[in-house]
């Protein structure tokens, strides 16, 4: 894993335009030596899953503030599975109430980072949990 550069798709599902967090994460991961692709705003789950497959990424990081995470996060995971890319790890962050976190994890989201998380925590978590895909 150590020698392989991880490829991460940072994605903004849903209609909210709050991209401050997504862009900071994208920069921090790049500064940590990862290859980062950022989707831009207002992406549908279909657009995100297609981009993940096309770009052959190792993980997808979803950022959302609009409250639609319970709908959109599982949709991305289901679509990745449909495309035979269920091994791409999915993590997320944003305004996500505590009660929703166990439910999201049960639905297949590997980790959720809430406000106040440091970018270094996220970098460490990715290094520890995301395997480079061959």
């Amino acid at each position: 894993m150590a020698d392989q550069t991880l490829r991460i798709l940072v994605a903004k599902p849903g209609l909210d335009g709050h991209d401050r967090g997504a862009k900071i994460i994208a920069r921090a991961l790049r500064d940590a030596g990862m290859e980062v692709i950022y989707t831009g705003l207002h992406q549908t789950p279909e657009m995100i899953a297609s981009a993940a497959v096309q770009e052959d990424v190792d993980a997808v990081g979803l950022s959302i503030m609009s409250g639609a995470h319970m709908t959109l996060f599982p949709a991305v995971i289901d679509l990745l599975k449909e495309k035979g890319a269920g091994d791409i790890g999915v993590f997320g962050g944003g305004i996500i109430p505590d009660d929703d976190i166990p439910r999201l994890k049960k639905l297949g989201v590997a980790e959720i980072f809430t406000p106040g998380s440091s970018t270094q925590d996220i970098v460490q978590w990715i290094r520890g949990h995301i395997q480079g895909r061959l």
Partner: protein
């Protein structure tokens, strides 16, 4: 700093602006672009301080520096090598009248007097308190109507409507893009029927209403006008504000439908229409709030927002409108963040810059065209999920800064807003915060209480100088629309946001409960949940509206919207006709997408 002792107080003498006031004004009248502050001549005017006395103060300050300050700092070093504001403005060890030796009465003015540094009204809160306008909107129109009535019963003095993401992006509740979003981040509205429910039982001639909506603002305003007509209230009697600031959408908030140029054309149509038909309505609220929340510094918020304002005025003038016909109804919206004095200075600098720009660059003569009137909101981005009750304290300090800065209206955030939209209890506490400042603190009794403070005046001058540099750079780029198309403000804001995050992570900047004074005990707060049932009932109502309306009338009206969009006729009359025929917000937006295309931003970061 021994080498600098000859011109005391050392750093201040170097860093303090040589009075910016007035200099721009004279030069600007000759050229369209604002001159660089550093090249401008010294301002004429009535000196506030006697030159001989100032030399004595400067000498005394030099002596203080050497004999009083230096021995102390030699023995006990300062907590930091240097101090600066959150925008990076250096803060000298002490400020005295000597720093203000070239200050003039003309650059300060008196309250209600050009250049309005001290406030736009001569009486300020002695005449009338600021409007306590609590932003509300969630779930169904019924839910939000109930919250409006609750807030009115508890002393809020103006309504303020938050719309959900589908409405802001021009999609109806049944659109595939609206999945999971209906009613989540604001109230769900698709058609006039929803507006009828939203304002049911609220006489629109007795309240003023603010609507935070931009890309689809034209449909929302027309629906509001239509509800007024149903209540028997002509549009001329409707009072309020529609945010309708598309430039800041492209810069920061990023809710859009069509590209910048057609988006601004719609804004100008609305300003033009309102200036002719709605004398009590503010057709645009030029907003720094979202620019700041996206990561801008206070100086950048000030600069980019005023540049947006200049952009709208230029476009209206190009349209052939006389500046004094529309400028009196332009309004502003600032964020109030943590750095207490810098925030106060921002309000003061904004008023002074705007007054001069309007008078000297655009030739406005009506005093109301020169007065920057503003709403303000405490900084949502400063709230923390950790130890949420601390947010009450942050909001209190920010609200106080907004009031000391002289805002005309204020929203205070609720302590639970890092988790979700606020509960009724949380929003009540936020409203009470304003009421305590207004009725118990005593700050309402005097106009511009910090006027003349060496520090606040220094910050006001310095923020003005730095903002004018940005505005000059934007002028050189060909104006704000071009700058936005090139992504210039977006990039500047991204840099600031990243720098801020690094400072937090490196603990150069401490945030209580986040990277300092952390506590294991998580304060838990009750959270407002939006039922998915809302989406179903909204979609059902939308289907009913579509089944009951006259499809030919809708088609005819939308055809007129398209014709106006392709030509140069004002879009307001055909959109008004369309929404009255129950054409939906999504259908009106679809016409715009068809004519101008859907805007998309690239994935640069």
């Amino acid at each position: 700093m021994p080498s600098q002792r000859r011109r005391p107080p050392s750093r201040a003498a170097k860093d303090a602006p040589r009075n910016v006031s007035g200099r721009t004004a004279r030069a600007v009248s000759k050229s369209k672009a604002l001159p660089r502050a550093s090249k401008a001549p010294r301002s004429p005017g009535t000196r506030l301080y006697d030159a001989v006395a100032m030399r004595a103060v400067a000498r005394e300050t030099a002596r203080w520096d050497a004999e009083t300050l230096a021995p102390v700092t030699a023995k006990t070093p300062l907590r930091q090598q240097s101090f600066q504001t959150d925008s990076g403005i250096p803060i000298p060890p002490v400020l005295t009248a000597a720093h203000r030796r070239s200050a003039t009465q003309e650059s300060l003015g008196l309250p209600g007097q050009f250049p309005y540094t001290r406030g736009v009204q001569p009486t300020m809160y002695r005449g009338r308190l600021w409007t306590m306008r609590m932003f509300a909107g969630f779930g169904s129109p019924e839910d939000t109507n109930k919250r409006f009535k609750y807030l009115m019963a508890h002393g809020t003095t103006g309504l303020s409507t938050a719309f959900d993401m589908p409405a802001l992006m021009g999609y109806d509740a049944d659109h595939p893009m609206s999945r999971g979003e209906v009613g989540k981040e604001g109230v769900a509205v698709s058609s006039l029927r929803d507006f009828e429910v939203l304002f049911d039982g609220i006489p629109l001639d007795q309240v003023t209403t603010s609507m935070t909506i931009n890309a689809s603002a034209i449909a929302a305003l027309c629906m509001y006008i239509a509800v007024g007509e149903q209540q028997g209230i002509p549009m001329a009697k409707l009072g309020g504000t529609i945010q309708n600031d598309m430039l800041k959408e492209f810069i920061a908030q990023k809710e859009w439908i069509v590209p910048p140029r057609p988006a601004v054309r719609i804004v100008v149509d609305m300003i033009e229409y309102c200036s002719q038909h709605m004398p009590r309505w503010h057709a645009v609220s030029i907003s720094g709030y979202h620019i700041r929340e996206a990561g801008a510094t206070a100086v950048q918020e000030l600069a980019f927002t005023l540049a947006d304002g200049i952009g709208y005025v230029e476009e209206c003038v190009k349209r052939g409108m006389a500046v004094d016909d529309f400028a009196p109804r332009l309004s502003f919206f600032w964020d109030v963040h943590n750095d207490f004095f810098e925030e106060i200075a921002k309000f003061r600098a904004a008023r002074r810059i705007w007054a001069r720009v309007m008078r000297d660059r655009f030739g406005a003569r009506d005093p109301r065209s020169l007065q920057l009137r503003t709403h303000a909101q405490t900084a949502g981005v400063s709230l923390t999920a950790q130890q949420p009750y601390n947010n009450v304290i942050r909001t209190t300090l920010q609200a106080l800064a907004g009031v000391l800065g002289g805002t005309q209206s204020l929203h205070t955030n609720s302590l639970d807003e890092t988790y979700a939209l606020p509960t009724e209890d949380a929003v009540t506490l936020a409203l009470r915060t304003q009421q305590i400042i207004a009725h118990e603190s005593g700050v309402d009794r005097v106009v511009d209480p910090l006027g003349g403070s060496y520090y606040v005046e220094y910050l006001t001058d310095e923020m003005e100088r730095q903002a004018l540099e940005y505005i000059h750079r934007i002028d050189e780029m060909g104006g704000i629309i071009r700058a936005v198309e090139e992504g210039y403000p977006q990039k500047e804001i991204g840099e600031s946001a990243y720098r801020f995050q690094r400072e937090v992570e490196e603990e150069k900047r401490l945030i209580v409960g986040v990277n300092a004074f952390e506590s294991d005990q998580q304060g838990s707060v009750e959270i407002l949940k939006i039922d998915d049932q809302v989406a179903e009932s909204q979609i059902a109502r939308l289907r009913k509206v579509k089944a009951e309306r006259d499809p030919r009338a809708v088609e005819r009206a939308l055809g007129k919207v398209e014709a106006a969009a392709r030509g140069t006729d004002n879009l307001m009359p055909p959109v008004l006709e369309a929404v009255k025929a129950y054409a939906t917000l999504g259908e009106v937006s679809d016409v715009f997408r068809k004519v101008w295309g859907q805007y998309r931003e690239g994935g640069a970061f």
